[in-house]
């Protein structure tokens, strides 16, 4: 879990068992140790991440849970569908977002621009560090947590991979093997001829 080493020092990875999830659940984080505004996010691996409540307010889902009527229950939020490294990244993102909110990415991203041109450097390095499936998992996590800046960031990153690419290149890029029937493809190409030729930038 090399990715977690980059987390801010405020995140303490609490006790965790490397065993099954079931046993992990039993080794609770000592939430009493943290400040009153802290909550613990528990990943599906059983790892707990202590984070300040104010930091995760950017996620509408987490905010709703934290602000919930039963305060005790909200102290520990199980995220059973996210792996530890995803939660760590999310926490990292939230904490940075608290200090330096991400600038908006215009839609559509203008041709020739990259994500880095629109957001602060920290965010562009953050998203660059996400590899492949991790990126998609972050995307899903952001969607689930209703964490719009992160969603925006990841979506733009994925989207730009398809930018300025021919359909074939897009297929290669995303390893899509779902060919059209020849006739449909022909029609499609004819209809979209304007977009496929001439190549942009030629």
């Amino acid at each position: 879990m090399a990715t977690e080493s980059g987390s801010s020092s405020r995140v303490q990875k609490t006790t965790s068992s490397d065993g099954a999830v079931g046993s992990a659940r039993t080794t609770r984080t000592d939430t009493g140790a943290s400040s009153s505004g802290a909550v613990t996010l528990v990943s599906m691996d059983g790892d707990g991440f202590v984070v300040e409540a104010s930091a995760i307010e950017v996620s509408k889902l987490l905010k709703a849970m934290v602000d919930g009527p039963t305060e005790n229950a909200a102290k520990e939020i199980p995220l059973t569908n996210m792996r530890s490294n995803v939660v760590a990244k999310v926490v990292e993102f939230c904490q940075h977002h608290q200090t330096d909110p991400m600038t908006d990415i215009p839609k559509p991203v203008q041709f020739g621009k990259t994500v880095g041109d629109h957001v602060q450097e920290w965010y562009s390095t953050f998203v660059k560090a996400l590899k492949d499936e991790m990126l998609f998992e972050m995307l899903l996590a952001a969607n689930y947590l209703d964490l719009s800046p992160l969603l925006e960031l990841c979506a733009a990153t994925v989207g730009l991979r398809a930018m300025n690419k021919t359909p074939e290149e897009i297929q290669r890029e995303f390893n899509i093997k779902e060919p059209f029937s020849p006739e449909v493809e022909r029609t499609l190409r004819q209809e979209n001829k304007w977009s496929t030729e001439p190549p942009i930038g030629s």
């Binding site: 559509p108 998609f136 989207g159 897009i170 060919p179 006739e183 499609l188 977009s195």
Partner: protein
């Protein structure tokens, strides 16, 4: 990353299990190959092992995302990127075609929120209007035939704007200068000019005189198919949808052809749709849950139950329906003698001698034009019913719509429908039930009983209908029942063409319940528009109310009224009909205050486009934009702003832009927000432009006295000439 543990369930939880499982379900067919290829979406990774970390590992991952997120991702793309992404794979295409994405690419709010659905076209115009494109010449070519040259030399019409324009450049194709050019003709000849054309995907159909030619837009030097209309007809309008070509001719026939048959052939079906020239055809897929002609008095068709007439005096109890119908119509048609028509009709029904009077009959007295139906000798045999009807129409004297033998066609089809019903029993339950309803409106309770109604109607009408049987034979279900019906023939497997929602194998009557009903609409110079069932060719609904010929129509799904049919006519009226019932919803007073010819008729509505709640009307030389609002009078969103030199022949709306062509040489692009002309396109056709179609970045135009289609293509930058080698031929 090495310790990454992936599990299907959590991911699905994240995705929302519905979405992701269906996504997986859809794509299960490619699972194996994906795994073999090292693609490792989360779901597959559990079994297939770890991802290789390569960039190619995400394909299934990408497609497994919920649609909303895919939209989010694609929302970052620009116009071209979106277009290309749509070409990459099915999953992306569905998302990339989502109009909301395209809407977000427009700058600024759209007036009335209208946006034409043709993605490629509006993208083309988007590029065009932003000035990023340049008109270039595309390839040329086909040897010119003598006929073509000859016909080109006849150019000379419509020189209104034309001083310095290159006219009569017959045979001088190669000499066209590149400057301002962009139109290229490719043709082989017909002795007459192309009267209409239709495009579907990469297939284009054109008609000149009695001949229809179908071409592939590229790659083919010879026509894909040729058809010739029998008799003395000449084709007046075309509609091309997924392998089926519909052609209306100048004597009211509607025929369907299978364009996939190499070389052409005979029509698959033929109906006498109208009494006069068919002027426009459109198709529409009804939204789920809508059934045509379910419960409207106007839609009431000749039933033929016990009375043999569809409205007997005994029906007066239920005649409230009729009263309602009259009232509604009276709203916009006051003082046009509705009552008179009614009375007369009444008395005739009373005699019980009149079977199957079409509703249109009621309009016999409305208006003061002296329209009289053309003689149709062949319909003389239409039986006494038709004969007396005609008489009646004349008796009405000023009958704007007169009564015409087209009713005989109605009869034939109707008759046929009934007969089919009786012979197939439950097999065609849908038509029967509908019929039952209609008859129910006529106050005949027993008509609700399918068998009784059908048999009664059938036998009753056979006596009368024999002479006109011909009108409906093409759709006799006895022949094609259970067999794929070519009206609904759908080519290309997964093409989701709006024309006919059903697969051929759905053609059986029994499957009627779940099908989305596809309707065809025809407009005619006889003053009516009609709806036909695209699957069976069955007559569905009549839209009568114009006092002159209907010139254009379009069916659309509006927000305020649901599915509607919008028709425009030579009487300078635009009428919005309830699509399923034929009830008049609104009448737009388009011609008000516009005097074209003092003392003469008002401006003729030559063309219109309707999309959602916006209707763009081309009346004579002007364009006006209307927007419909529920419960209120339609609002004139933008008054006439277009100033062509000649009446507008065709218009199209592309985003906030409106494209018009008229009898002058110029195609103009208007910004409906400002009412200003954004761009003019001169096609060097040397004659009046009669029609145009947008197809991707190509603009196809036809001209008067021209036997070729001119293709203007736009490319993004200078120097990219010659990219297309499209050959469009007559």
């Amino acid at each position: 990353m090495g310790t990454m543990r992936m599990d299907r369930d959590p991911l699905q939880d994240v995705c929302g299990s519905d979405n992701s499982s269906s996504a997986y379900g859809n794509k299960s067919g490619v699972d194996e190959s994906e795994k073999m290829a090292g693609g490792c979406p989360a779901a597959a990774a559990a079994e297939a092992g770890e991802g290789d970390g390569a960039i190619g590992g995400q394909g299934r991952m990408l497609l497994a995302l919920p649609d909303a997120m895919l939209s989010e991702i694609l929302g970052n793309l620009d116009v071209k990127g979106l277009g290309r992404a749509g070409c990459a794979c099915r999953g992306l295409r569905d998302t990339a075609d989502d109009e909301r994405l395209w809407v977000s690419l427009w700058e600024g709010p759209l007036p009335g929120g209208f946006l034409r659905g043709e993605k490629a076209a509006h993208v083309a115009l988007w590029l065009l209007a932003k000035g990023e494109v340049e008109q270039t010449r595309v390839a040329v070519s086909e040897p010119s035939s003598p006929t073509r040259t000859a016909s080109r030399r006849r150019v000379g019409e419509a020189t209104a704007t034309g001083g310095g324009r290159d006219q009569g450049h017959g045979g001088a194709r190669g000499e066209e200068g590149p400057a301002g050019g962009g139109a290229v003709a490719v043709a082989a000849g017909f002795p007459v000019h192309i009267s209409c054309m239709a495009i579907n995907g990469a297939v284009i159909a054109t008609a000149a005189g009695p001949e229809i030619t179908v071409w592939d837009m590229e790659g083919a030097s010879a026509p894909r198919a040729r058809f010739k209309v029998s008799g003395h007809g000449s084709v007046t309008c075309l509609l091309l949808r997924s392998g089926t070509l519909l052609a209306g001719d100048n004597s009211g026939y509607l025929r369907s052809y299978d364009v996939s048959v190499p070389g052409g052939g005979r029509p698959l079906h033929e109906i006498r749709a109208h009494a006069d020239r068919v002027t426009a055809i459109d198709s529409f897929t009804l939204p789920v849950g809508n059934t045509a002609a379910a419960d409207s008095p106007v839609a009431e068709q000749p039933g033929g139950g016990s009375g043999g007439c569809y409205r007997s005096p005994a029906a007066e109890g239920e005649g409230g329906a009729w009263g309602r119908g009259g009232g509604q119509r009276g709203r916009w048609d006051q003082g046009h003698g509705w009552g008179e028509g009614w009375q007369e009709e009444e008395s005739e029904s009373g005699e019980g001698a009149q079977p199957l009077l079409p509703q249109r009959h009621l309009y016999g007295n409305s208006g003061a034009s002296s329209y009289s139906p053309p003689p149709h000798a062949s319909w003389g045999a239409a039986g006494e019913g038709a004969g007396s009807r005609q008489q009646h129409g004349i008796g009405g004297g000023t009958g704007a719509l007169g009564e015409s033998p087209a009713s005989a066609a109605d009869l034939g089809v109707e008759f046929n429908r009934l007969r089919r019903g009786s012979s197939h029993g439950g097999g065609t339950g849908e038509p029967l039930s509908r019929l039952g309803k209609r008859q129910g409106y006529a106050g005949r309770g027993q008509a609700y009983e399918p068998a009784g109604a059908a048999v009664g109607g059938g036998t009753r009408m056979q006596g009368r209908g024999r002479g006109i049987d011909r009108a409906g034979w093409a759709f006799d279900d006895g022949n094609n029942h259970g067999a794929p019906n070519a009206w609904s023939e759908e080519k290309g497997g997964e093409e989701n063409d709006p024309f006919v929602g059903q697969r051929p194998d759905d053609g059986k009557g029994g499957a009627g319940g779940e099908q989305r009903e596809v309707l065809l609409f025809t407009a005619s110079d006889d003053g009516t528009a009609k709806a036909w069932d695209a699957r069976s060719g069955r007559f569905v609904c009549l839209y009568a109310g114009h006092t002159r010929g209907v010139t254009c129509l379009q069916a659309t799904l509006t927000e305020s009224y649901g599915p509607v049919l919008v028709t425009g006519g030579g009487d300078s009226a635009v009428i919005v009909w309830e699509l399923t019932t034929g009830r008049c919803l609104e009448k737009l007073e388009t011609g008000a205050g516009l005097v074209i010819n003092p003392g003469g008729p008002g401006p003729r509505v030559g063309c219109l486009q309707a999309y959602r709640d916006t209707i763009v009307v081309g009346e004579d030389r002007h364009v006006s934009v209307w927007s419909l609002r529920k419960g209120q009078r339609p609002r004139l969103a933008r008054a006439r702003f277009c100033e062509h030199q000649r009446p507008i022949r065709r218009l199209d709306m592309v985003g906030p832009w409106i494209v018009t062509c008229s009898g002058d040489y110029v195609i103009r692009l208007w910004d409906s927000r400002t009412g200003l002309c954004v761009r003019e396109l001169e096609t060097k056709s040397g004659a009046a432009i009669t029609s145009f179609r947008l197809s991707g970045l190509c603009l196809l135009t036809t001209s008067l006295f021209d036997t070729s289609v001119l293709m203007t293509s736009f490319s993004q930058r200078r120097g990219s000439e010659g990219k297309g080698s499209a050959k469009i031929c007559d």
